[in-house]
């Protein structure tokens, strides 16, 4: 008691510690709470079962978040553009499938909870082998080597049956009965919570890595590798370590994939999966640590939800990507961060009017574009599948001229107004920023 009186600051400091923890990691804790609660919001109480679609989608989001973050360890943090990142995802998945089969057959014992670690080690081993080759180069040459490695491994996956199982892939069974907590991991909700646990561990480790000397040197080599050399570090070694660790986390993501789907095929190492990592990371934002998570959530949402409605969802993803590269190189996270100063100066309300003026024609132009794309894809792909084109209950005949004209009109008029309003928006934005700067000076 007397000690507390003697040090009146002791308790408040501790309280401030907790407060700053919630303040600094508030968004992360909120995201964690949402991921834990979300499956129960879609719980079907009348039949006492989880919505399979939602749980599958959330599992996918979680593992893709790890995958995208591991990709950003190379792209955002080390400035290494890779076109073959899926290699470590897929090889981690294959390793996990073989480990699961081996545990099931009794060759050795490993708790189910630690199986993702095996995938991570698989990813790490292959990342060390391929990274030794690839990280001797940087920039475009590095990108080309990773492209070559990606194509090479994909071709091998189709060719060699012992490890990759050829075209059929390797199937496995996650119910191996070695859980530390007595869980079966047969229902997908149990696997979901295992995935969330490993996602939390991986995200925390990757976040910590950005604060180590290695993480800082990776940034330095990205920004100016010659100066980094003068500090006394070997940039190619920094690249090598960063690449290997990135492969480790990609392997964990692949392991979560193998646990969820219980089959790993060559698709998981192929170019489309590597492109997926690139799209998620870039659309989410390479500049902020959490950016790739946003990208993963958005892309998986598009993938599982929009793909039910439309054959051409990849066109929209591609267009979103191009728009991001052209107008917002910081991705979604970059756009959000740009609003930070205005939010803190409590002037966000000033932008409401300009936002409405720029978003209305934007939505119209997008609607027109979507209508045109859907009409077009219906004529070739949809018609072959024997579907009829319906929009809010009204059947539209893609052979007639009217819907095409409406689509073109929306796109052209919306686009022109958007172009004009975009310039107006930029002026309003700059005016608000000037105001904030002036207020700061005063």
């Amino acid at each position: 008691m007397s000690e507390i009186l003697a040090h009146p600051g002791a308790r408040p400091v501790e309280a401030a510690g907790v407060a700053s923890l919630t303040k600094r990691h508030g968004p992360w804790l909120l995201a964690l709470a949402v991921t834990l609660v979300l499956p129960w919001l879609f719980y079907d109480w009348s039949r006492a079962r989880h919505s399979g679609f939602v749980v599958a989608m959330l599992s996918q989001m979680s593992m893709m978040a790890v995958f995208a973050l591991s990709y950003n360890m190379q792209m955002g943090q080390a400035g290494l553009l890779s076109f073959g990142h899926a290699v470590f995802f897929g090889l981690g998945g294959y390793t996990t499938a073989h480990v699961l089969n081996a545990v099931k057959s009794g060759s050795f014992w490993l708790p189910t909870e630690l199986v993702p670690l095996a995938g991570g080690v698989g990813g790490l081993v292959f990342a060390i082998i391929f990274g030794y080759v690839a990280t001797k180069q940087r920039a475009t040459a590095f990108a080309m080597i990773t492209l070559g490695i990606g194509e090479l491994v994909t071709a091998c996956a189709l060719m060699f049956k012992t490890f990759f199982g050829g075209e059929g892939g390797v199937s496995t069974n996650r119910v191996i009965g070695t859980s530390l907590f007595g869980l079966t991991y047969s229902p997908s909700i149990q696997v979901y919570y295992l995935i969330v646990a490993w996602t939390v561990i991986s995200v925390a480790l990757m976040l910590l890595l950005t604060r180590t000397a290695l993480g800082r040197m990776a940034n330095a080599c990205r920004d100016n590798f010659e100066r980094a050399q003068f500090v006394g570090y070997d940039p190619s070694m920094v690249r090598f370590f960063q690449f290997s660790l990135s492969g480790f986390f990609a392997g964990i993501a692949g392991a979560l994939y193998a646990l969820t789907y219980e089959i790993v095929t060559f698709d998981s190492v192929a170019g489309a999966m590597s492109a997926n990592a690139l799209l998620m990371t870039y659309i989410g934002g390479v500049g902020a640590f959490a950016g790739p998570v946003l990208g993963a959530v958005l892309i998986v949402l598009l993938q599982s939800w929009v793909s039910l409605l439309s054959n051409s969802w990849l066109v929209y993803v591609g267009l979103l990507f191009i728009v991001m590269v052209t107008f917002a190189p910081g991705g979604i996270a970059g756009i959000l961060l740009m609003h930070g100063p205005i939010w803190r100066a409590r002037r966000l309300g000033r932008l409401a009017g300009p936002y409405v003026r720029v978003l209305t024609p934007g939505v119209l132009a997008v609607a027109g574009f979507v209508l045109l794309v859907e009409l077009c894809s219906f004529l070739t792909i949809g018609a072959a599948q024997g579907k009829s084109f319906k929009l809010s209950g009204i059947t539209i005949d893609p052979q007639s001229l009217k819907p095409w004209l409406i689509g073109a009109l929306l796109l052209v008029v919306g686009g022109l107004v958007l172009w004009r309003e975009g310039r107006h928006f930029r002026r309003s934005w700059e005016a608000v920023m000037e105001e904030i700067k002036a207020a700061g000076r005063a």
Binding site: K136, T140, A141, G148, K161, I322, V325, P329, I381
Partner: protein, 315 residues
Amino acid sequence: MELLLVSLLNGLVYGMLLFMLASGLTLIFSMMGVLNFAHASIYMLGAYFAYDISRHIGFWPALVVAPVLCGVLGALIEMYGLRRVHKNGHIAELLFTFGLAFIIEKAVQMIWGLLPVPYRVPALLDRTLFHIYGTNFPAYRGFMLLVSALMFLAIWLMLTRTRMGLVIQAALTHPEMVGALGHNVPRVFTTVFAGGCALAGLAGVIGGNYLVTEPSMAFSMGPIVFVVVVFGGLGSLAGCFIASLIMGYVQTFAVVLEYSPADALAAFGIKVTEATPLSEFLTIPLPRIGALLPFVMLILILLFKPRGLMGTRDT
């Protein structure tokens, strides 16, 4: 012997087709520093344009119109896309072309469908040119050789005999210096990009009916063209030409030689059975490894000679 001769001719045809694609890409890559992922997509568009035009008007107009369309498209991409992204750096430009390749593939699927289209060789050329050792050599392959030889000659004359060509040649090795000397570098960029795309379109027109015209043709051709460009070296058309021919021959001979490493070992008296370690690797026949060879070559050259065969700068 007959196998050798026929394969030599086929490899030449394929190599020249690759050169038609790779020459434009080399010029673009050397001058602008952009590895254009959409280059093979333009090649695919060339084939589809030619298919549509030849269906309505005929093959011969398509031979001219489709490359021109591709060239115009290329100019538009450069002026309204790449130039805008340029300020965000090379990676952004590369990603832009990557996204473009993605969209073009999906757009082609939407417009022409998922299945291959029946783009055929024109009737005039659909016959045998000559026989070698009982094997037919189709007239169309001869025509392809003729077109690519003419294109080679045209590029060479353009680059060495015209003012524009000299500026382009200078810009290949010293892009900043050319700008400092007062030449309109953006216009040179647009011209080269449009020209490269027109060549890719031409390759599509004459390659689309030789190979198959389908939505995945860009993604199967793209990496190979990259390998050729990197293998040949930055800033060197001659290196690009040699690399194209090497790649053409590697791919052609890998398909016709039905041997596996096990056969080579058999020559030394070692017999490979199921029980031999690595038997799976050893019994794979060469035609199946053929698809891997370009990427092995790519990785090896980037490791040991990052400048490529005749490159003047690092990639």
